[in-house]
């Protein structure tokens, strides 16, 4: 009886383990499968998938990934998880991710959840199935804290895009410059009510308070909101000089038009996702001159001072006949495929534990700047692309050009403020 039970146990254990074992071994010519489960309906998700496909095509054109002397093409499996759409619950996104892991038997994931809320919940899933993921959209630093707290369990989760902490560092650098240049010291905060935006705004608010800035108000908007007039009127009434914005929803683009209609004499600076791409100038009726908008990762905007970013941006434009519109996602998504490829070749296997150890050792000059991971599996961001990955702040000129104004290593033009902002009475 005991022997029979033991045999049943062995068979069950075998059946449970076989899928993982078979998933971790490739026959010559078998494809390396990379999953892209994300909110494909968003600009960031859609363009990130295109960037991933572009990297895969480039790698495949050169023969693919070399493992144990054999070449393996990269196959991309995309899945729409809609986690950024209003009202879509996190469990729905989790189901989508689990499905792509189990059905498509992906060896790794890139891009990943759009919303940080979904990322946090996905971490356990990735740990359960031992699937390495290089996230390129969700930005909460809470995932890094979780990794540092339990590195063995969550070692499969990496992030190549900017996180809220580094974004706040970019913003504080810009705000310090604006204070130095124009003497601005009064800010009104407006953000979308989602985890990453709340985190970023809270960090910036702390910096403002610490540095003696006057915060005239703080308004949070649910995803989908498109009327910002009340907050803009408050900012105007209280004499704000800076309107800090932090939004990633398509509806937020209209904020700039409303700000111009109400004539708020403050410089708008922060991140409004629809304002990031070069097509925004035409979309928003050429009314966005003066706006300061962040680009979360270099490469999503070209820079004459950093050729790899320029090359990626132009190659994308050539391949898809359209420029990148999103300021967040595509460049690190492209980069992530190369990080994976190199890590697989270093580890000489796709076995998850060996692969994550190899990813940790990454040190490459990529399109987003230098790519290295810290203890929380986050790519290190800074201000010099030869040393770290870089996020930039650009400003729309009145002629409809995007000019990088921060950091100094990549500056193309000095920051300026419209006359009606500097002299509101006139």
């Amino acid at each position: 009886m005991k022997r029979r039970r033991f045999l049943i146990f062995v068979v069950l254990a075998f059946l449970i383990c076989v899928p993982f074992v078979s998933q971790a071994q490739l026959k010559p010519g078998d494809p390396v499968i990379i999953g892209v489960p994300t909110f494909l309906g968003s600009i960031e998700g859609g363009e990130s998938l295109k960037a991933v496909q572009m990297a895969a095509d480039e790698i495949n054109a050169r023969g693919g990934v070399t493992l144990k002397g054999a070449k393996h093409p990269i196959k991309i499996e995309a899945s729409e998880i809609r986690d950024g759409a209003p009202g879509v619950p996190v469990p729905e996104a989790l189901l989508g991710i689990e499905k792509i892991i189990l059905d498509k038997k992906v060896h790794a994931i890139v891009v990943g959840p759009f919303r940080s809320e979904a990322l946090m919940a996905t971490m356990d899933l990735l740990s359960k199935y031992k699937v390495p993921m290089l996230g390129t959209i969700a930005m909460t630093p809470a995932s890094e804290a979780k990794i540092i707290e339990n590195p063995e369990k969550y070692k499969y989760v990496f992030r190549t895009c900017l996180n809220s902490k580094y974004f706040a560092a970019l913003l504080t650098g810009v705000m310090a410059d604006l204070n130095k240049e124009f003497g601005f010291k009064k800010a009104h905060l407006m953000n979308q009510d989602v985890l990453w935006a709340r985190g970023t705004t809270a960090a910036l608010k702390g910096w403002y308070e610490k540095n003696g800035w006057d915060i005239t108000g703080h308004d949070e908007f649910p995803t989908g909101a498109s009327d910002f007039s009340s907050a803009l009127m408050k900012a105007k009434a209280k004499g704000a000089q800076i309107l800090f914005t932090c939004f990633d929803m398509p509806q937020s683009g209209i904020l700039v038009k409303q700000y111009k209609s109400i004539r708020v004499p403050a410089l708008m600076a922060g991140f409004i996702s629809p304002m990031a791409g070069e097509v925004a100038w035409k979309t928003f009726d050429r009314q966005i001159g003066g706006l300061l908008n962040a680009i979360f990762e270099l490469g999503n905007i070209p820079s004459v001072k950093y050729p790899p970013a320029m090359a990626f941006y132009e190659a994308y434009k050539k391949k898809y006949k359209d420029p990148i519109q999103s300021g967040h996602g595509p460049a690190p998504a492209y980069e992530s495929v190369y990080v994976l490829k190199e890590a697989m070749e270093r580890a000489n296997t796709i076995e998850p534990d060996a692969l994550v150890a190899a990813i940790k050792q990454t040190d490459r000059a990529g399109v987003i700047g230098r790519v290295k991971f810290d203890a929380g599996n986050q790519v290190v961001y800074g201000t010099d692309p030869s040393k770290e990955a870089v996020a930039v702040m650009f400003q729309w000129s009145e002629a409809g050009e995007r000019r990088i104004v921060y950091p100094a290593a990549l500056t193309e033009k000095k920051v300026w403020a419209p006359e009606w902002v500097l002299k509101p009475g006139k």
């Binding site: 309906g41 908007f221 649910p222 009340s230 509806q251 683009g253 109400i262 629809p274």
Partner: protein, 290 residues
């Protein structure tokens, strides 16, 4: 700031009234709660955008075609789908909601997602009223809203079809005895209601962006206004629009923008507890008295 809040609150009220007019008209006449209303609202805006951007048709002509197509779609929805479940309110709601979902999600499937879906304002620029700057488009919304309510009043009081509409709204069986074709009138009411959704979308959305989610929020706003005002009561929706419009604007200004979106939900809850038929509704008044 108070002056600005009052002005923007009034504009917001007119926006809500514009959104709810078509839904209310359809329900008042045919008794059909058209849950595809939000989808028709967005359908109209996307159609105008496609005509304007892809086919490069003049904006005014694009608007007219979009509204007419929306109207036609509404009529067809009734003729080929809702007519079959007429008189079964739950089936009507399920069918119309299903149609709405299909339309909206079909746009998503086709890739109508992103910030490029904007409609131009009719007249660019802003003017100041006292110390408050307001864009001309918002003023036009007020003008169009008032004009539309007036036209609807004249239509329902002085035209043969309008009088037939009112007859249907008052007592369908009696209207039938008087030779009013109730199915035909109900088809018209769906078509006109949908056309009004189209007019609302074309007028309001240049202030924002054409997005699929806008369809859901338009339906929610229309429902909130109609439930608070009383389903089928035009006077009721005007009062409800003012109440909810100002409540939303004051909430956003003095409490927090974050809370603005739940104002309409709270309004629905409160009215359902206090007076389920709405402020001016007749639908359940007898039951309420009992």
């Amino acid at each position: 700031m108070l002056q600005g809040t009052l002005i923007y609150g009034f504009v917001n009220s007119v926006i809500l009234a514009l959104i709810a007019l078509g839904f209310n008209l359809t329900f008042g006449i045919s008794g059909v709660a058209n849950f595809a209303y939000g989808a028709l609202y967005i359908f109209s805006a996307y159609t105008a955008w496609m005509l304007l951007t892809w086919l490069k048709i003049n904006y005014l002509i694009s608007i007219v075609i979009a509204v007419l197509l929306t109207s036609l779609l509404g009529g067809l929805i009734y003729k080929f789908i809702l007519l079959r479940v007429r008189g079964m309110p739950i089936s009507e709601v399920i069918a119309s909601f299903g149609i709405g979902l299909s339309i909206l999600e079909f746009f998503r499937f086709l890739g109508f997602v992103g910030s490029e879906y904007t409609l131009p304002v009719f007249i660019d620029g802003s003017v100041s009223i006292g110390e408050t700057y307001i864009d001309i488009q918002r003023l036009l919304i007020v003008v169009i809203g008032i004009a539309l309510v007036s036209i609807l009043y004249l239509f329902t009081h002085y035209t043969k079809t309008g009088l037939a509409f009112r007859g249907m709204a008052q007592e369908e069986r009696t209207a039938l005895i008087l030779g009013i074709n109730s199915d035909k009138m109900a088809t018209f009411s769906l078509a006109i209601g949908s056309g009004l959704a189209g007019v609302a979308a074309i007028t309001i959305l240049p202030l924002g962006q054409v997005a699929i989610e806008g369809g859901y929020s338009a339906l929610l706003n229309a429902l909130a206004v109609c439930i608070v005002g009383g389903l089928g009561s035009t006077g009721g929706i005007l009062v409800a629009s003012v109440l909810i419009g100002y409540a939303q604007t004051f909430t956003a200004t003095y409490i927090g923008s974050h809370w603005m979106m739940i104002v309409s939900l709270i309004a629905i809850l409160v009215i359902l507890i206090i007076k389920p038929s709405g402020l001016f509704g007749k639908q359940k008044e007898l039951e309420e008295r009992i």
